[in-house]
């Protein structure tokens, strides 16, 4: 029988995906085993020392609103907080924090260890237990077996991992860690299709070897704000630095480009376009004379500094030449050289919107192994997979986030229903309803769901509810308040937001003008004084969106109507007359859950949607 034990859920891997999956499931009441290679690398940040940003910060805020851990842990491990895009409207604010990596990992390890129904197991999973085509647990290298109704794989970059640094290549999952070899073959055996991706990381330098006189200091926000509704305040503890590559770097790289595994052909995996290595950047943007380099400390107690912008897998001597050519880094000592990792991922079209494998019952996937890149994407998917494992176990409706409601929905929908040729990273431009999906509205949109899942305290939900109610009251006041262009009022308006007006208008109308100084307006409008700083800025900023919001709301209303129409699981598209072969193929391949999902498939037309709808109204496909 089983040596390890019986669980509701086994999570393989304790990276960012695995931690959220296991955490959510255990807190929802499931008995969970997390099997991971090393306890010391739980929630390790193998690349940059930052959480959040634009798009990623949106995901982080959403997972937090749903009751996940990541934002809360980042608040505690954060050492410098900075919201990006603050000069713009709230929809595109990107909260970001530099974290103390060791502390982040430590916090996650502690919180997971403290969960009563969760067991952390150190070991390597080399196979899956299956029963009649369904996965029913895992097999470890040391012979132990763990049985569970659900298994979630979150093995990151470990499947068939190969590390590259210049001409050197050796098997590995991350720096200093062995890859996971047997598991990939096991997945192929289950009929899953794997693909090869790659990603890279820059060198780490020794802090005391940098010449700070030649570096530009970058401070955090003056009033840093926490990510999580669970945190009341956060503090900046460090500064970062900035420098720029000189033109000489271009020459050095060009002369050595044949030694790069990316260009010599040694790496076949496809890397992310938007996170290019310095050799990529030099080749692709030869007209850019300089590239910005950010120097980000990896923690308070460590000397290690992350060189953001110099991701590379060039040979060590070339890396050193490049780094030493950069002002401020002339004498920099290397703690670790940059490297790239090439790994197998499971093509995400094979999972459904709940992240369960369509053709392998009992098995779900989340994180980098499903083709994403980044801690936040991994955490978001992990959360979803964990919550759904529990819901499925209870026989309840699964959590299917929709793309019109959240970035989480955009992420899953894009992954599952689109083909990807490179690691997927979240951007705000991926969301068609971006103006409605800002970090400012994440709690309003998702906290209720968090309460329903049992992961958010109702009391906390009410606090937030009061906040957004106060915002809508303030907005209504601005909409209703008429201003006359008399001298005193005009002066007051110039004072408050820097604009002149000549004919009577409401506050809201004035604030929609393109020449309003949003920052100033947020601070100075007397009618908003009851709100806190952030809420004032949200109210003022979102007024400018108004003209476009109606358009989005109408479209969303339409999509929601379609979303209420569920497609039966046994639908046979081929048996529906009037659908073209392309549409039938798309429906068979992606197996959309609702009519709204079906509508987004390539080649799907309004008429085909109408046929499907008509078919469903008449009581499903013939059988």
């Amino acid at each position: 029988m089983t040596v390890g034990g019986d669980f509701d859920l086994v999570v393989v891997g304790a990276g960012h995906a695995g931690c959220e999956a296991a955490g959510a499931a255990a807190r929802m009441g499931a008995r969970v085993a997390v099997v991971t290679l090393h306890k010391r690398t739980i929630a390790q940040m193998p690349c940059n020392p930052a959480m959040g940003g634009i798009g990623k910060g949106h995901l982080l805020a959403e997972v937090d609103a749903l009751g996940g851990f990541q934002g809360w842990a980042a608040d505690r491990a954060g050492i410098q907080f900075k919201t990006l895009n603050v000069s713009r409207g709230p929809a595109v604010w990107g909260p970001r924090a530099q974290c103390d990596k060791a502390r982040y990992s430590e916090i996650m390890r502690r919180v997971l260890s403290g969960l009563p129904r969760l067991t952390i197991v150190e070991g390597e999973v080399i196979g899956l237990l299956s029963d009649d085509g369904a996965v029913v647990g895992v097999r470890l290298a040391d012979g132990r077996r763990f049985r569970a109704r659900s298994t979630i794989l979150t093995t990151g970059t470990f499947l068939g991992g190969v590390l590259h640094s210049g001409d050197e290549r050796r098997p590995g999952g991350r720096f200093g860690e062995r890859p996971s070899i047997g598991l990939g073959a096991e997945l192929v055996g289950l009929g899953l299709v794997l693909r090869r991706f790659k990603t890279g990381t820059p060198p780490r330098l020794k802090r005391s070897s940098l010449d700070f006189d030649r570096l530009e200091v970058q401070h955090g926000d003056r009033e840093p704000r926490p990510f999580s509704w669970r945190s009341s305040s956060v503090r900046n503890r460090i500064s970062c630095w900035l420098t720029r590559t000189p033109e000489r770097v271009q020459t050095i790289i060009e002369e050595n480009i044949h030694r790069s595994p990316l260009f010599s052909g040694a790496i076949e995996g496809v890397g992310p376009r938007y996170c290019p290595s310095i050799e990529d950047k030099v080749v692709r943007f030869p007209h850019h004379r300089e590239h910005t380099v950010f120097l980000e400390p990896e923690g308070l107690a460590t000397e290690s500094v992350y060189v953001n912008g110099l991701s590379t897998s060039l040979p060590h001597d070339v890396q050193e030449a490049v780094v030493h050519a950069v002002p401020g880094l002339e004498a920099a000592e290397f703690l670790r050289h940059g490297y790239a990792v090439e790994y197998d991922m499971v093509a995400p079209g094979q999972v459904g919107m709940d992240l369960g494998c369509r053709d392998v019952p009992g098995l779900a996937l989340a994180g980098q192994v499903l083709g994403t890149s980044g801690y936040e994407e991994a955490a978001a998917l992990g959360f979803l997979a964990g919550a759904n494992a529990v819901l499925r176990g209870r026989g309840e409706d699964l959590f299917h986030p929709a793309r019109e409601d959240s970035y989480l929905g955009v992420l899953v929908d894009d992954l599952v229903n689109r083909d990807h040729v490179e690691p997927y990273r979240m951007f705000t431009s991926r969301a068609e309803h971006r103006l409605l999906l800002g970090v400012d509205s994440a709690r309003e949109r998702l906290m209720g769901q968090g309460v329903r899942l049992g992961l958010v305290r109702p009391a906390a939900f009410h606090v937030e509810q009061n906040r957004w109610n106060a915002r809508s009251r303030a907005k209504a006041m601005l909409e209703g308040m008429n201003l006359n262009p008399d001298r005193a009022t005009r002066e007051a308006v110039v004072q408050a937001c820097g604009i002149e007006f000549t004919s009577p208008a409401t506050w809201a109308q004035l604030l929609r003008r393109q020449d309003v100084d949003l920052d100033r307006a947020g601070r100075n409008i007397p009618e908003l004084s009851s709100l806190n700083d952030e809420d004032r800025r949200i109210v003022v900023g979102s007024l400018r969106y108004e003209g476009y919001l109606d358009r989005h709301r109408r479209e969303i209303e339409r999509v929601r109507r379609l979303r209420r129409v569920k497609l039966p699981g046994d639908l046979d598209p081929g048996a529906i007359p009037g659908l073209s072969r392309e549409v039938v193929e798309q429906l068979e391949r992606h197996r959309p859950v609702t009519l709204a999902d079906a509508e987004r498939l390539p080649g799907m037309t309004p008429a085909a949607t109408a046929i499907l709808a008509g078919r469903l109204a008449r009581g499903g496909a013939d059988s």
Binding site: G94, T428, R434, L435, Q514, Y545, S580, E582
Partner: protein, 449 residues
């Protein structure tokens, strides 16, 4: 896996599984008639109706026997098989040339229907060509225009549009908008990487897009002139010979001609082709002239009433009061004609005028030439062969309005406007299309195309 998506256009419900049949030559009796079959089952249908036809001998004509479902001989005909994707629709196709007897045509179509084909709806062949990526929507629209072209210019513009000239213009506009959007999105999503939002550069791209739209919109009136005709109005005082000239140009006794002033009560219209362009010539009554003491005022009013014309042919009789000669129309090109030149006596030809005598025929050839030059200038002067149609004008105006309202002070709001403009242009080219739009476009087609 790569997906062969037909650039977002419907391939569902363009008939999909059905194989369609229709007569493609005009109705009525003719020497020959063309019958077309298209769809997945073409091969099987051919086997039933033309057992001897070798579908693998594609793109070549062969002489064959057509047989009804009962095995009865219908006709000896010429058949050409086409194999997908090298056919008009992109599907397997068959074209059969039969004798033009209504019975033979009907029997042939019925034979194909009996073998499993469905009668095609209007424009269904072209719609399939669009769905299969053989034509884009803009090209497909022109197919219909080419079929109904009556003048050289109509055919020329339609041909250029089918060849993709207008599609390329739309593609360039789209490229500008995509670049603009990419610039905004890049600045929003990569703010962390120190990529600033360059408002000036965005403004430049916006202007470029607006210029591209403007240049296309400028061809709208020209498109209308080519498609609907150039409207030329003859104005002049009563009894200046307007109707006589009208008849002379039209070549038939269309207007009522009499020596008594004020005979032409209503506007009389005729169509003629001048310089390859359809020209709609209008003869006006000598408006209000009898009650007006000054003839010149009457003509001025007539010209005002002709404000919706594209050009004016101003007639002034040689025996009319010389000091009363009105100026050219303000907003339209005006061809000034001294009529009844046979009565001019020793008068010199005034500069800027064409002289004509309808009675002697003097100057009529010169007048035709002048008219021809004026029409050419009206249509061809804008250069090129591009002329957008009404649907394009509406879409482009939506795009322009979106762009003009774009708020770059908040890039995420500016991006909404650019996305809106892009959507409008994509709808033009059929990349995002609603089925209603397609229905509307293809319903104007004839069956068999």
């Amino acid at each position: 896996m790569e997906m062969a998506s037909s650039s977002g256009l419907s391939s569902a419900l363009v008939g999909g599984a059905d194989t369609i049949v229709a007569r493609s030559s005009p109705a009525g009796r003719g020497g020959l008639a063309l019958i077309r079959v298209s769809g997945r089952e073409t091969r099987a249908l051919a086997a039933a109706v033309i057992p001897e036809l070798d579908m693998d001998r594609g793109w070549r004509a062969s002489l064959v026997e057509l047989r009804s479902s009962g095995g009865e001989r219908i006709d000896r005909a010429v058949a050409i098989p086409y194999r997908n994707p090298r056919s008009y629709t992109g599907e397997d196709m068959l074209e059969v040339m039969v004798h033009g007897s209504p019975w033979i045509i009907r029997a042939t179509i019925e034979a194909f229907v009996a073998a499993g084909a469905r009668r095609a709806g209007p424009g269904e062949f072209t719609r399939r060509a669009v769905a299969n990526g053989k034509l884009d929507l803009v090209q497909a629209e022109a197919v219909n225009e080419l079929i109904s072209a009556e003048t050289a210019w109509q055919a020329r513009v339609a041909r250029a549009q089918i060849d993709g000239r207008l599609s390329r213009e739309f593609a360039e506009l789209q490229a500008t908008l995509v670049d603009l959007l990419a610039e905004i999105e890049g600045a929003l999503d990569f703010a962390q990487h120190d990529i600033p939002f360059d408002v000036e550069s965005a403004e430049k791209r916006r202007r470029r897009a607006l210029n591209q739209i403007g240049a296309l919109l400028a061809t709208a009136s020209r498109g209308r002139r080519i498609r609907d005709g150039v409207r030329v109005v003859i104005v002049g005082p009563p009894n200046s010979g307007k109707s006589t000239l009208f008849n002379l140009l039209v070549g038939q006794e269309r207007a009522i001609v009499s020596p008594h002033p004020g005979t032409t009560r209503d506007v009389v219209e005729a169509e003629l082709e001048v310089a390859g362009v359809r020209l709609i010539l209008k003869d006006t009554a000598g408006l209000g002239a009898t009650s007006d003491p000054v003839e010149r005022e009457g003509v001025r009013r007539a010209m005002g009433a002709a404000a919706d014309a594209d050009a004016v042919l101003l007639l002034w009789p040689a025996d009319g009061a010389r000091d009363a000669v009105p100026a050219a129309a303000e907003n339209q090109p005006t061809l000034r004609v001294r009529s009844k030149w046979d009565l001019a006596g020793a008068e010199e030809v005034p500069p800027g005028w064409t002289v004509v005598s309808c009675r002697t025929g003097e100057g009529v050839g010169g007048l035709r030439d002048a008219l021809s030059r004026m029409v050419e200038a009206e249509v061809a002067d804008l250069g090129g062969e591009i002329a957008i149609a009404e649907r394009h004008r509406r879409g482009l105006e939506v795009a322009a309005a979106e762009l003009e309202g774009a708020d770059f002070a908040l890039p995420e709001v500016g991006a909404e406007a650019v996305r809106g403009a892009l959507e409008a242009v994509r709808e033009l080219t059929g990349e995002v299309g609603t089925e209603d739009l397609l229905d509307r476009i293809f319903s104007e087609f004839c069956i068999g195309k």
